[in-house]
C-alpha cells in the first residue's frame, strides 16, 4: 500500500470505495507478534508468542481472561487491546450481575464489533489497532471469533493473526478438520505446534509463549510455564515421528472429513488476510 490523498482521514472514502485508515489499522495487527486460536466442540485453546524487548524486561501480556467462560488473545497495539479487554470484562460483569448468568460470547463479540465500527465513522477517532481472538462458551458450545479493527467479526475453527501467522495458518489448514472432535490435550498440542510454525526455526520453549484453555467445565485459565514446558518436551521428542505418524492421520482425516464435511464448513469463514 502506498500513500495517497485519501488516506489522511478515516472519514474519507477513496474513489475505489476503500477506507485506507481502516486498512492501515489492519496492517498494525499484522505487525504484532503472533496469536493463534483453535477450538473443538467443547474446548478452545489460545496461544501467543511473547517476545520481550530485551532480556532485562518482561514480556507484554497478550492473553486476557475476560470472564470464567471467555478469554481473549490480542495482536497489534497491545494498549488498545488492554482497553478493549477492560470493556469486555465490564460488559461481562454487568450482565452477570443483572442476569446471574454468563454473557453469551456471541453477543459480546457483536458488541465489540459495534464498538470498533464507531471508530471507523468518527472524524475525531481512530480505529483500534488490535485484532482480537475471542474464545468463549455459550449455550451452543465452544466458539472462537476474530474481531477486526474494521468492525467485522468472523467465527473460526482455527485462526492465526500477527507476524508470520501465515505459517501457523498453513499448519492449521492441514489439520483443522479434526479439531471438532479433538481432546483437550490434543488441541493444546496443536496450538503449540502452530506457535512453533511462527517461530521459523527458533526453539519453542515455554518462556517465549503463553497458552490458555477454556472448556465446558473448565474455566478460562492460562497454563503455567511448567505445564507448557512439559507438553513441549512430550511432543518434541515425538517430533521426529511426525512424518510416519502423518500417514495414518491422513487416512483418519479422510474418513472424518467425509462425515464432517457439511458441519465444519459452517465453522469456517473466509480468511481475509
Amino acid at each position: 500500500m502506498f500513500r495517497n490523498q485519501y488516506d489522511t482521514d478515516v472519514t474519507t472514502w477513496s474513489p475505489a470505495g476503500r477506507l485506507f485508515q481502516v486498512e492501515y489499522a489492519m496492517e498494525a495487527v499484522k505487525q504484532g507478534s503472533a496469536a493463534i486460536g483453535l477450538r473443538s466442540k467443547t474446548h478452545v485453546v489460545l496461544g501467543c508468542v511473547n517476545k520481550a524487548n530485551s532480556e532485562l524486561s518482561s514480556h507484554q501480556k497478550k492473553i486476557f481472561k475476560v470472564d470464567d467462560h471467555i478469554g481473549v488473545a490480542i495482536a497489534g497495539l497491545t494498549a488498545d487491546g488492554r482497553v478493549l479487554s477492560r470493556y469486555m470484562r465490564n460488559e461481562c460483569i454487568n450482565y452477570s450481575f443483572t442476569y446471574e448468568s454468563p454473557l453469551p460470547v456471541g453477543r459480546l463479540v457483536v458488541q465489540l464489533a459495534d464498538k470498533a465500527q464507531v471508530c471507523t465513522q468518527r472524524s475525531w477517532k481512530r480505529p483500534y489497532g488490535v485484532g482480537l481472538l475471542v474464545a468463549g462458551l455459550d449455550e451452543s458450545g465452544a466458539h472462537l471469533y476474530y474481531n477486526c479493527p474494521s468492525g467485522n467479526y468472523f467465527e473460526y475453527q482455527a485462526f492465526a493473526i500477527g507476524s508470520r501467522s501465515q505459517a501457523a495458518k498453513t499448519y492449521l489448514e492441514r489439520r483443522f478438520e479434526n479439531f471438532m472432535d479433538s481432546t483437550r490435550d490434543d488441541l493444546v498440542k496443536d496450538a503449540l505446534m502452530a506457535i512453533r510454525e511462527t517461530l521459523q526455526g527458533e526453539t519453542l520453549k515455554s518462556s517465549i509463549c503463553t497458552v490458555a484453555v477454556i472448556g465446558v467445565g473448565e474455566p478460562f485459565h492460562i497454563l503455567d510455564h511448567g505445564t507448557v514446558q512439559q507438553m513441549i518436551d512430550a511432543f518434541e521428542i515425538a517430533g521426529e515421528q511426525e512424518g510416519p505418524a502423518a500417514e495414518p492421520d491422513a487416512a483418519a482425516r479422510q474418513e472424518a472429513a467425509a462425515e464432517q464435511g457439511g458441519s465444519t464448513d459452517e465453522g469456517v469463514a473466509p480468511m481475509d488476510i
Binding site: 443483572t98 442476569y99 448468568s101 453469551p104 457483536v110 455459550d138 449455550e139 451452543s140
Partner: protein, 245 residues
C-alpha cells in the same frame, strides 16, 4: 418553584409536589399466588380477583402471564404495576429475540432481572407494589423464584405471595415432595387455594392454574372450587354470643 417535569425530577424524595410522582399505596390489588415444582416443571395458581380496597371489584383479572419461551410470571399486589412489569419484560424479551442467535433468557435470568428492577425502584422510594412469582423450565432445569416490592428474592421448591405465605406454605411444607405428578400437583394447589378462599377476605372463587414445562406454557380456563358451608358451627353464628347489640 420549578415545574414538575413529566420525567421524575432528581431531588424528589421530599416535598409535597413530588409525591404525585411516586407510589404511596396500591389501588387495585391481586391477592395470593401459589406455585410449586413438580415432575415436569412448574404449577402455579392464582385467582382472578382485582380488589379495590375491600371491594371485590374486578373478577376476570389474569394474574399469570407467560414470558418468552421459558418462563411464567404470576403477580400479586398492584395490578397496574404488574402491567408495567409486563411491558418491561416484553421489551427485554424483544431485544433478546432480536439478537437472533441460539441464546435465550431463561427463568433464572428473568428472575434476576426483575430482582434488579424491584430493588432499584425500592431504593428510589418508588416501588412497584408487587410480589412476583417467576417459574420456568430451560434445558431440563426447573426454576422457581419469588421477588417482592422491597427486593427480597429467593428460590425454592414451592413459593407463595401474600396470604399464601401464611396459609398455603405450611400445607406445602407438609405435603410437597420431589417428582409430584401433574394430578397430585394440581390437587395440592387446589387444596391451598381452597383454604385461601375460605380464609382470605380478598379471594374470589374463580381461579386459573398454569403449568410450564419444557414444551411450553398452558394456562387453564377459569374455574371455581367446590366449597362447603354447611358446617354446624357456621349455622346461626350469633347464637349464644355475649353482647348488648
Amino acid at each position: 418553584m420549578n415545574f414538575i417535569a413529566s420525567k421524575q425530577p432528581e431531588n424528589r424524595l421530599l416535598g409535597p409536589e413530588s409525591d404525585t410522582q411516586r407510589t404511596l399505596y396500591p389501588y387495585v390489588t391481586g391477592t395470593s399466588v401459589v406455585a410449586l415444582k413438580y415432575k415436569d416443571g412448574i404449577l402455579m395458581a392464582a385467582d382472578m380477583g382485582g380488589s379495590y380496597g375491600s371491594t371485590l371489584r374486578y373478577k376476570s383479572v389474569e394474574r399469570m402471564k407467560p414470558i418468552g419461551k421459558h418462563s411464567l410470571l404470576g403477580a400479586s399486589g398492584e395490578i397496574s404495576d404488574f402491567q408495567e412489569i409486563l411491558r418491561y419484560l416484553d421489551e427485554l424479551i424483544l431485544y433478546d429475540n432480536m439478537w437472533d442467535d441460539g441464546n435465550s433468557l431463561g427463568p433464572k435470568e428473568v428472575h434476576n432481572y426483575l430482582t434488579r428492577v424491584m430493588y432499584n425502584r425500592r431504593n428510589k422510594f418508588n416501588p412497584l407494589w408487587n410480589s412476583l412469582v417467576l417459574g420456568g423450565v430451560k434445558n431440563g432445569q426447573t426454576y422457581l423464584g419469588m421477588v417482592n416490592m422491597i427486593g427480597v428474592n429467593f428460590e425454592d421448591n414451592h413459593v407463595a405471595t401474600g396470604f399464601g405465605n401464611h396459609l398455603a406454605r405450611p400445607i406445602l411444607r407438609q405435603e410437597w415432595h420431589e417428582n409430584l405428578s401433574f394430578e397430585d400437583g394440581v390437587k395440592l394447589l387446589e387444596k391451598c387455594m381452597r383454604v385461601l378462599l375460605y380464609r382470605d377476605r380478598s379471594a374470589v372463587n374463580k381461579l386459573q392454574i398454569a403449568k410450564i414445562t419444557e414444551e411450553g406454557v398452558t394456562i387453564s380456563q377459569p374455574y371455581s372450587l367446590k366449597t362447603y358451608w354447611e358446617f354446624s358451627a357456621f349455622e346461626n353464628p350469633a347464637q349464644g354470643a355475649i353482647g348488648s347489640w
